[in-house]
Symmetry: C2
DNA sequence: ACGCTTGTCTACTAAACAGGTAGAGTTAAA
DNA sequence: TTTAACTCTACCTGTTTAGTAGACAAGCGT
């Protein structure tokens, strides 16, 4: 799962992307529009500023704006930034590789093999999408529970 | 990230799959071969027994074995079982859907749209692979850091 | 029936992390 | 020089993770 903080981060960035080239957006505006606790959002945005993804303007009429055009901010980058890695296990990360604790030698670990493949598929998709993409949300739910019935129930 | 427990679970099941139809495998054998703390493994295996994925045999010459052929145990099922869902956000789960806290209405949430698509890609891959598949681990690392250079560095 | 080996179950705990909050300080436009 | 912003360090509280302890139950072989 993505942490709540990562989700807030993504939604905040989406909001800034929506207001690209419209001048700084105030923190409260983001907090209200995106339903993010105000105080927590200060922490999140400050980090994004430190990381260079967002620019802040202090003083009156200040606020935040993206540091680069939405089309240049890929979702993969955002998740790498906030989570450290796209991978589902430390040893399957391509940019922040770490040995897993209590594991087999990496060359023998099938879980690692699987997770490397999975990571690459996820990366391919997340690096294709940027903050500039309009994402259409699918219609309701219901008829989508199919395909889940399996040997296990 | 998958929790350590989920990783242990998968490796334990792989071990049982490797010894399919060779009689019960003792807990200690699994613990040693897979480098899993013995006491913790009892918890993990007991849960798998309760969930019907593994059968246990008590008494002398007892141990554990898979309840069904390895080819019928998909990785997707294992992760659904231990994590509850494949999705990266609660609202993007197909079999354990939940509203996210402090979010937008689901129909408007672009993060949800993105995560639904991602979930489906992950599911497609994880439901294609089973415990019967030999997974080849890729060669070393090194030349694989390419493709990471981006607007962000 | 006995004893050994092996799994089962409930409870507990230490440490880390998640998700926030408080509040004093700094900037810059009007 | 006021005031509406952002910034920074510190703190807090609840939950989850990763285990451990220890008494108990069940088969197998003799």
């Amino acid at each position: 799962m993505l942490s709540q903080k990562t989700r807030y981060t993504i939604r905040a960035l989406q909001h800034l992307a929506d207001h690209w080239r419209q001048g700084p957006v105030r923190l409260d505006a983001v907090a209200e529009a995106q339903n993010i606790p105000r105080k927590f959002l200060t922490v999140i945005l400050s980090e994004l500023v430190r990381e260079g993804l967002v620019i802040s303007h202090r003083g009156r009429d200040g606020g935040y704006e993206l540091a680069l055009p939405p089309v240049d901010v890929r979702y993969g980058d955002i998740i790498r930034l906030t989570r450290g890695s796209l991978a589902l296990v430390p040893c399957a990360s391509r940019n922040a590789h770490e040995h897993c604790a209590n594991c087999l030698p990496e060359a023998e670990c099938r879980l690692r093999g699987l997770m490397l493949t999975l990571r690459d598929e996820m990366a391919a998709m997340l690096d294709r999408m940027t903050l500039a993409d309009a994402i259409t949300v699918e219609p309701p739910f219901a008829d989508e529970m199919a395909g889940e019935s399996a040997p296990l129930g």
